[in-house]
Amino acid sequence: MHAHVTVVVIDDSEEYRLIVRGLLRSVHDVTTFVGDAPSGAEGLALVRRERPDMVITDLVMPGLDGIELARRIRLELPKTKIILMSADIEDAYRLMASDSGADAFVSKQMITRTLLPVIGDVVRREAAALDQAARKLLGLSPARNK
């Protein structure tokens, strides 16, 4: 993952694509929006072409839904981070979402408050994993700041 996080947005709702793009614009110094798509199939083609660091996708879409999309991205591009979003989530969907390989889920009810913290959290986890690997390779003890 680079200092600039490249992001693809997939949602059949134009309104939510615009909301997410607007939120990303407010952190354009650390993220780069590389494209959006109105369906899972078009989104997968975009992801294959752009190979982004992160995909933010709706969960419930006609055709290829967010869960199947996440599974395919995880297989093809295992380093790409995946954030699912939905208005609400039923238990059955939750189990499938949990097994899809996605990194995070954000409720659309709170998207303006939570999307940027979620992106930050996912990036932090990746950075922590890389730091842990680097420390192991260098023979250093785990981080101990206090």
Partner: protein, 82 residues
Amino acid sequence: MSEPGDRVPGIRQKILAGHLPKENCRMTWYGPGTGGVCVACEQPIADDDVEVECDLPTGGTIRLHQGCYDIWVAEWPTCDVG
């Protein structure tokens, strides 16, 4: 709910005592509070609070206020003892 800075010592204590895990979440779920109790501060998570559910890689799920979650993820990597 108390100020974030006031919650740090209690959350560190829980990490050091083994009552909060020292590992990154496998998957996180951000949404409105569902009326449960935050595992970090032991206060209810109201429906207008942001609740973070953390699926742990070793199994199980913990629920926290977003503010408590942020403190926990910042503190646990610094809580190694020995």
